[in-house]
């Protein structure tokens, strides 16, 4: 079930704080203490978020029991964005069709108007 991973990724990304943590980690690996600062959150709260992110494979953590710096892992994020790209193609293609349909519709309306005009002129 390869999509289970994707579900876990999206579930982890659904939280704005966790997304902010990822954005922070995108600038480089850092410790829980550093991460907690801008959020004004308790260390255990930050740790809980990190656990969710780690479980989703979005970050990895150092082995050092004292420091355990967190680091961003790119692969699952890329998968999630690839999934959204699929939706983008779905809509892009639909909107291409909408564009064609609207052009067709307006041509028809014009023809109708012209026909009416011609009738009226007679």
């Amino acid at each position: 079930m390869p999509y289970d991973h994707l579900s876990t990724t999206f579930a982890a990304l659904a939280d704005p704080t966790r997304r902010a943590i990822l954005a922070r980690l995108a600038t480089g690996e850092t410790t829980v203490n550093e991460l907690a600062k801008p959020f004004d959150m308790s260390l255990p709260a930050v740790s809980r978020h990190l656990k969710v992110l780690e479980h989703a494979g979005l970050i990895s953590r150092g082995r050092d029991a004292q420091w355990r710096p967190a680091k961003l892992e790119a692969a699952p994020l890329e998968k999630a964005s690839a999934y959204i790209d699929k939706y983008r193609r779905f809509w892009d293609e639909s909107f291409d069709r909408l564009d064609e349909y609207i052009t067709e519709l307006q041509l028809k309306n014009k023809e109708k108007k012209n026909a009416r005009k011609r009738k009226g002129n007679r």
Partner: protein, 170 residues
């Protein structure tokens, strides 16, 4: 008071974060806004364009009012599985704004993960600019353990896109 401060700080940092879960598309149509709006909100029009190529929107119904439902089936013209989708209207402000929930049916005919679609239409010198946004991958309900439904919807969607890619639709 400290609690309030906390809230503010959190919102600030959250808004600074990237938004990996939102899809945003803009398009310009050479048509008046009323016409583009109709194409989104009148079934006879939706069925003429809804869905990617090699699919036809069928059995499309919509009750365009806040809380009203919409539903339709993407029928494959290449003999693949039909895909049902549906949702609920959230906001309606003709002819410039409409938003609704969007979900694929799972194998049992129940709605899977619900995403939110927001459509804004802006008229500029006879042209209509469409801003389309889709967000909410996935909902809180899904997060709280209904991962199966979300997974199924994903499976279907992925399956469908494998087909589209093979067909070289673009």
């Amino acid at each position: 008071m400290p609690a309030k401060e906390k809230e503010t700080v959190r919102t600030k940092s959250a808004s600074k974060s990237t938004k990996p879960l939102e899809l945003s598309i803009t398009r310009t149509f050479i048509a008046p806004r009323e016409l583009v709006y109709k194409c989104f909100t009148e079934p006879e029009h939706v069925m003429k364009w809804g869905g990617p190529r090699s699919f036809v929107m069928q059995n499309f119904t919509q009750d365009v009012r806040v809380g009203g439902k919409w539903r339709g089936m993407l029928h494959s013209t290449t003999g693949k599985k039909d895909l049902w989708q549906g949702g609920t209207f959230l906001e309606i402000d003709p002819p410039k704004h409409v938003s609704y929930t969007f979900a694929w049916d799972d194998d049992n005919g129940n709605p899977g993960n619900e995403t939110i679609v927001v459509i804004d239409l802006e008229e500029v010198a006879g042209f209509t600019k469409l801003t389309f946004k889709q967000s909410g991958f996935p909902t809180e309900g899904e997060r709280d353990g209904h991962v199966v439904g979300w997974g199924e919807a994903l499976d279907k969607f992925a399956e469908y896109f494998a087909l589209v890619s093979r067909g070289g639709a673009r």
